[in-house]
């Protein structure tokens, strides 16, 4: 297997219609045929999920040898490839068979295409045309079903089902969902839930893409619908976690409509999580900043460069600090750091977070200067997992999905030993049963991955560190002396459960062929990261140990990019505040940063001490509310830039559409700020020295950085696309009429100065570049056309080029960590009898931007699920509380009402829950609880109902506004700076 390209080295010759093809021996015949870019219809097979042979659609005729003229019908997806095999796709009998299968499926298919959201990218439509079935023979009646309510994100239209079983195979088998299933028999098979309700899986949105027809539809897209052929799309990168899944964002009439999966061989493959798919809603939200604040405009119509420089000129000579952010692009962060100077740059991290960042940098320094962290595809091949302090399903959901696949490896191996190939999905699952690869986890809260673990511990971060130290010590001592007495002595401070865990981890870790340790920064515990460092060091020193892979996940889309800019001079948020109150600084520039680490009091203090606050952001935050100057920045769909994922992979997100002025890319705003203000920094002197260099595009900025700044962390060319690819499909409609209500004369299309992609249907085909704006192939309108653009099924993209990675070389620094009160609490010994609360992660509210999506608010206030608090069974029994009891939770004078659930696995003083609004979702806070009165419960429920209604209204208003704006398409000629009309 050529791992880089994903092509098999084990090729055999297969004759398809008497032409010899080299086909991958390890995969089935259908994958082989499709790899040759030949057209063979299929439904139930999926490249990631293998074959079950349910739909009988991929029938081909196989011949015994060259003299055989009759042949026999075989299902390509269930047939292994063998050398010298002869098949035909063109003979009458198999073609007729395929047509009849479609014909049978269509007997019950409703006459819905005009009103179906799948129309135009429907796999069933494509396959029907492919088989030539063009008129209905069946004259009888059709069976019908009632639909279910599946939540705010996925629509259900069961009449359209052709029973391919892909949905349940994805939802239940692949993604581990529990609340979905298949009911009924023969012609009455029903795919849905036991009763109406929101789908619980974090991956439910994939049903839309997995379903070959329109049974499952994207509800948000349907509400403001357009056909796929009308979407203007651009390749983008998900802005909601550090995995960096590739997405394709679609726009029409000036508003973003949806996000679809964009195949990536190394990362997301064919699937996205719901946060990535639906979280884009924030770009259309009511809280978007569309006008500059604090800048006096000469003309009421538009803001000009002159206005900006005039207004900013007042602040000339003032001393500014810069606060970067993990959701801003690498360029903008770097630019800001250069402008204000490295000693005035802050990442907006608190002292505690800086310590975590430092530990993270150390890990990267120690283990990833030569090697790279595993990609999701490589993670799926691991056979031992130790997950430390990260609720992956909530923080990096796509990574959790990859871990689920890794857990299957032991079953796949067992099947392979019995001669069953891995693509034989049903057989492999039967053989493997409940067998999982060894998987161990430690986290303060229960997580969805717990069900896959061999053993998991619920522990506070300090105890997690203790357990890790024990593992490290034992592994280290094992090397020298196998002294069981010493062994026992090491473990005597641990309870039996922990001892069992430690012993099991060690024994499995030593056996594993490709072990993986996963950790992250979501618990904000530097101790866990340094304990990981020690563990890794110990494992590296052990000559008998197979190479242990480490993955460290970060919280935001560009956390690692920001991490690469943090050094010993960088300021923590406390230091920013101190500098302002000591009058060492006059103000600060806040780059797409909501300053989540500040409490409300600290924020007031910040405002009082800062003379000037300049904020660049796309959405209103508590910082923009108190700022003197707010500059409207472009959101991820409106600008170009790069994010660095957890591996250090630098990925470009491209502008989908030009935003309405004065919304501009952050770095363009920074260039105005840089020109108007005076900084005594090297950057400004460099920029002034090279005045002749025009910097108008991101590419020019890049060249400038790499030419003049040695600290620019990117080495290598990340700007390979030079092809001017069309963002629209060839069949995009309405060009001469969409703006005709204003002027019948057609406007010139927007010119993108970056010239990688064009805002029109003219330009090179999408498949001439690796980063395709959308995927399409002749006869294949759905996303499954990706088969035609891969070197081999599930392999690399045809126009693949190596991604560029950040080089991890951090100078070691010692950052002063101010011990916050939170820190000491987390390490409390049980003697103090304080309860430490940890929030269960939230898929939708867990990331600042996605939490602004209106539909996610509906889910947050939904009455389907009450806020829950989990207490140890022992304690709740001692209080005489039973499950379902309403409790009042108090911390820092904030009260919340939650329903009690008992968790027998919990240590007595550890508490967790999913109370979203509770103290900014902070980890490790001390809480008290008492029984809630009936009045309080009713009050809480009422406030939730109100919240729900508000969210519903908000959703309605947004839709109304978007529909209005459909007829007021902004006209811009150049997607450049402020004055380009």
């Amino acid at each position: 297997m050529d791992d880089k390209k994903g092509t098999s080295s084990q090729k055999v010759t297969v004759y398809i219609d008497d032409i010899a093809y080299q086909v991958n021996k390890e995969n089935n015949l259908l994958a082989g045929v499709l790899s040759q870019k030949l057209n063979l219809p299929y439904f139930c097979w999926h490249p990631s999920m293998g074959s079950v042979g349910a739909c009988r659609q991929c029938a081909v005729t196989q011949y015994q040898d060259e003299n055989d003229t009759r042949g026999r019908l075989v299902m390509a997806c269930m047939t292994p490839v063998s050398d010298g095999m002869r098949i035909t796709l063109q003979d009458k009998s198999s073609a007729k068979f395929r047509e009849q299968v479609i014909g049978a499926m269509m007997t019950n298919h409703p006459h819905d295409c005009p009103v179906c959201a799948e129309g135009g990218e429907c796999h069933l439509q494509d396959m029907t045309v492919m088989t030539g079935h063009n008129s209905r023979d069946y004259q009888g009646t059709k069976r019908t079903f009632n639909n279910q309510y599946l939540g705010e994100l996925v629509g259900h239209e069961m009449n359209r089902c052709i029973t391919c079983y892909r949905c349940t195979r994805f939802y239940n088998d692949y993604a581990g969902g529990k609340d979905f299933g298949v009911y009924g028999s023969k012609n009455q098979v029903y795919f849905g839930r036991q009763k109406d309700g929101t789908l619980e899986s974090e991956f439910s949105g994939n049903l839309v893409e997995v379903c070959p027809t329109g049974v499952f539809t994207n509800k948000l897209f349907s509400a403001h619908y357009t056909r796929k052929w009308d979407l203007q799309s651009a390749p983008s990168v998900c802005a909601h976690c550090s995995v960096g899944c590739n997405t394709s964002i679609g726009e029409r009439y000036g508003s973003v409509r949806r996000v679809m999966n964009r195949y990536s061989y190394d990362l997301n493959g064919y699937f996205l999580c719901d946060r990535g798919r639906y979280g884009i809603g924030f770009v259309n939200g009511e809280q978007r900043i569309k006008k500059a604040k604090g800048i006096s405009q000469a003309s009421p119509e538009k803001l000009t460069r002159l206005d900006v420089s005039k207004s900013l000129a007042h602040f000339r000579g003032k001393r500014f600090m810069g606060i970067g952010s993990a959701r801003a692009s690498l360029e903008a962060n770097f630019y800001l750091k250069q402008i204000v100077g490295e000693e005035n740059f802050s990442a907006g991290y608190s002292g505690q977070q800086m310590a975590v960042a430092k530990a993270h940098q150390q890990l990267l320094n120690n283990y990833f200067t030569k090697d790279r962290m595993l990609s999701l595809r490589e993670v799926e091949q691991c056979d031992f997992i130790l997950l430390i302090g990260e609720d992956l399903t909530k923080t990096s959901p796509r990574f959790a999905l990859a871990l689920r696949q890794a857990c299957r490896n032991s079953g796949i191996e067992k099947a392979a030993s019995m001669g069953v190939a891995s693509w034989q999905d049903s057989a492999v699952r039967t053989i493997s049963g409940k067998r999982n690869s060894p998987f161990f986890a430690m986290h303060p809260t229960a997580t969805k991955l717990d069900e896959l673990t061999e053993q998991h511990l619920l522990l506070v971060p300090d105890d997690i560190e203790k357990v890790m130290l024990a593992i490290t010590n034992l592994l280290g001592s094992d090397l020298n002396e196998k002294n069981s007495e010493k062994h026992e002595k090491q473990l005597e401070n641990y309870n039996t459960e922990q001892q069992l865990f430690i012993n099991k981890v060690i024994s499995e870790l030593v056996k594993a062929k490709k072990p993986l340790i996963v950790t992250g920064d979501s618990l904000l515990s530097a101790k866990i990261l340094s304990a990981t460092n020690k563990l890794m060091a110990c494992l590296e020193n052990n000559p008998d140990q197979k190479k242990v892979n480490l993955v460290v996940l970060a919280s935001a889309s560009n956390s690692i990019g920001l991490l690469s800019l943090i050094d010993e001079k960088s300021l923590s948020s406390e230091q920013v505040l101190a500098k302002l109150s000591n009058n060492e600084m006059d103000g600060f520039i806040c780059l797409e940063q909501e300053l989540a680490t500040f409490t409300d009091n600290e924020l007031t203090l910040l405002r009082e001490n800062a003379e000037t606050i300049i904020v660049l952001d796309h959405s209103e935050s508590r910082v923009s509310a108190i700022a003197d100057i707010v500059l409207p920045a472009a959101a991820v769909s409106e600008c170009n830039g790069h994010f660095v994922n957890y591996q250090g992979r630098i990925q470009r997100f491209s502008q989908v559409h030009a935003p309405i002025l004065p919304i501009l890319d952050s770095w363009k705003w920074l260039s105005y700020v840089e020109k108007s203000l005076e900084f005594s920094t090297t950057s400004q002197s460099i920029l002034r020295k090279n005045k002749a260099e025009i910097i108008e595009t991101l590419d020019q900025l890049h060249h400038h950085f790499s030419k003049h700044f040695t600290s620019w962390p990117v080495t290598g060319n990340v700007l390979l696309v030079q092809n001017s690819v069309a963002r629209m499909t060839q069949r995009a409609s309405g060009r001469t009429s969409q703006a005709a209500n204003f002027s019948v004369h057609e406007t010139k299309v927007v010119q993108d100065k970056d010239q990688h992609y064009r805002f029109s249907m003219e330009g090179n085909k999408p498949n001439t570049v690796k980063d395709m704006p959308f995927t399409w192939a002749p006869g294949w309108n759905s996303n499954q056309s990706i088969n035609h653009h891969q070197v081999e099924i599930q392999g690399q993209l045809s126009n693949y080029h190596e991604d560029v990675y950040l080089a991890f070389q951090f100078s070691n620094f010692n950052h002063k960590v101010e011990q916050t009160s939170d820190d000491t609490l987390a390490g409390d010994s049980p003697v103090d009898k304080k309860f430490t609360y940890f929030p269960q992660g939230s898929l939708f509210q867990g990331e600042w931007q996605s939490a602004l999506t209106a539909e996610f608010d509906l889910l947050k206030y939904s009455l389907e699920k009450n806020p829950t608090l989990y207490l140890s069974t022992e304690f709740s029994e001692s209080q005489g509380w039973s499950q379902g009891q309403w409790l009042k939770v108090t911390a820092d004078n904030i009260n919340c009402i939650a329903q009690l659930k008992c968790d027998a696995r919990l240590p007595k003083y550890l508490v967790y829950g999913d109370i979203y609004d509770f103290i900014n979702n902070k980890s490790g806070i001390t809480v008290k609880f008492s029984e809630a009165t009936e009045f309080e419960v009713i009050q809480q429920q009422e406030s939730r109902i109100n919240g729900y209604q508000l969210a519903k209204e908000n959703q309605k208003n947004i839709l109304e506004r978007l529909k209005k704006s459909d007829q007021h398409i902004p006209i811009r000629f150049v997607a450049g700076g402020l004055d380009d009309a």
Binding site: P114, F145, Y183, T226, D230, Q738, A740, V744
Partner: protein
């Protein structure tokens, strides 16, 4: 020589035939109902808008002069939020009518589409929508489609069986 005479004969013969041209605009020629002239949006026999905003006319249009946005009403019916035809671009090819799955968009025999100002040739939905059924008198798309619309529930369309009780035990 012979051919020249024959040509002369044919030309002169037409002196005595009835003229095909008429004195337009005083006199108007007969145009068949299926003649391809001004485009209208029709209603179904129940008086509801036929257009479901499926975008097929727009995509079929060779000059891209149709644009629209679909919206869903509270009763589940889909219709065009706006529907615009730029007649200054329209070539009256009739592809939109052929593409329309609901018989909503139809071409009429009205060919008088001249304006002094080109902007006046941009027709919005209010200009296009007529109150009649046009050339197709009895077609109602929602009677054939499987989706639930207003009073028409699941299994109540033509050629549909009542919805299956998935909790029933009968095979």
């Amino acid at each position: 020589m012979l051919s020249q005479l024959r040509t002369m004969w044919l030309v002169l013969k037409h002196t005595f035939t009835k003229a095909d041209t008429v004195q337009y605009p005083e006199e108007k020629p007969y145009l068949a109902p299926r003649y391809r002239g001004r485009i209208v949006l029709t209603r179904d026999p129940d008086g509801e808008e036929r257009c479901v905003g499926c975008n097929l006319c727009a995509v079929a249009c060779p000059v891209d002069c149709i644009s629209l946005q679909q919206t869903i009403d509270d009763d589940g019916r889909k219709r065009a939020d706006f529907f615009r035809i730029n007649f200054s671009r329209c070539i009256l090819c009739g592809f939109c009518e052929e593409a329309c799955p609901t018989y909503a968009i139809q071409l009429t025999p009205d060919v008088e589409l001249a304006e002094y100002d080109r902007q006046n040739l941009v027709y919005e939905k209010e200009h296009l929508l007529i109150s009649g059924v046009g050339k197709y008198h009895d077609y109602n798309f929602y009677h054939h489609s499987g989706i639930k619309v207003g009073d028409k529930g699941k299994g109540q369309a033509e050629q549909e069986r009542p919805p299956i009780d998935i909790k029933g035990l009968m095979p």
